[in-house]
Assembly symmetry: C2
Homo-oligomer: 189 residues x 2
């Protein structure tokens, strides 16, 4: 499994992979079951996670205690609650495994040591930040500019694997529409 | 005006401000009038901008050619279309001055030279990326979990100056609600 993470880093840095073993040594493998909570709102986020296998849901609760899905993170991507991880303040989001998953976690001390001492790790971190930022910008624009039907079509085009891996309830939550609207529109497509 | 940018960098780095003049030398002052377009969808974004004075709107057009406001950037913040700036692909967003503004622009060559050669600049860039990412995460969660009234209340609490600086049309666009809904709900508050 650690080879997936090694390849992920090599893919981002090309041949510039000196010290990669320093990075991998600090990554702790964590196996989680379906529905395991990795981070709970109010706790302090103590790690960043690389998803080697499986799928995580990042969510908050709205005023009616319904789950609001901010992100779905699949294999070969990173997941964390960055505000809490950086500031060590209580997390405002929850993270849950929605499939049995294999993660590699890097705790805060290791993370900061790597950013300071391994320039390649710092580079990868910046790339991930840029990617995450760009993704979230895209998601904001889609919420603002697309109606429910357009969002479903977008998901089918750009993240088709989510249509088969996630429950209808979860897809609806990810798209910011009601499960009823999702069922109704999906049957039309 | 450049002193505002100098202070912005010092505020982020504490006393760790060696080479700050190398950074400031590469920043070009740009004065823009109200409604000037700084970047147009389809063009390549060639710079990042620090807003020393004024206010910028980052927006896209939806299928009905209505403006969808992804962000409003006020003084002491940075603005760019990062995907286009990094990849040199055509921009998918527009940037417009909504007040007479004074910006400092750093072009791509200078930006990359600074990231490579001035560690403090690289640190500031990472902080800005983190801040931008965190902000956009917050914005996604608010779109997903708040109704129109809650969004208006949020704006009044957290960005009260926008309520007085922006037109009602622009506020409604920023909140992702119709101008009619905005007027109706605002009069109730």
């Amino acid at each position: 499994m650690i080879e997936i993470l090694r390849q992920h880093i090599i893919d981002r840095l090309g041949n510039d992979v000196e010290n990669i073993d320093d990075v991998l040594e600090r990554c702790k493998q964590v196996k989680v079951k379906r529905n395991d909570i990795i981070l709970r709102e109010g706790e302090t986020c103590s790690a960043v996670y690389f998803v080697a296998k499986g799928c995580l849901q990042v969510f908050v609760y709205n005023h009616d205690s319904a789950e609001i899905t901010r992100d779905i993170v699949t294999e070969n991507n990173w997941c964390s609650e960055l505000v809490s991880f950086s500031s060590q303040q209580p997390a405002t989001e929850n993270i849950r495994a929605i499939e049995p998953s294999v993660l590699f976690s890097i705790d805060r001390v290791s993370f900061q040591a790597l950013v300071e001492s391994v320039p390649q790790f710092d580079k990868v971190y910046k790339q991930i930040l840029e990617f995450s930022y760009v993704n979230s910008v895209y998601r904001i624009n889609s919420f603002l500019s697309m109606n429910a039907l357009e969002r479903i079509k977008w998901l089918m085009e750009y993240r088709p694997n989510l249509m088969t891996r996630l429950s209808s309830k979860l897809i609806a939550s990810y798209l910011g529409i009601s499960p009823e609207t999702f069922s109704r529109l999906k049957s039309k497509l």
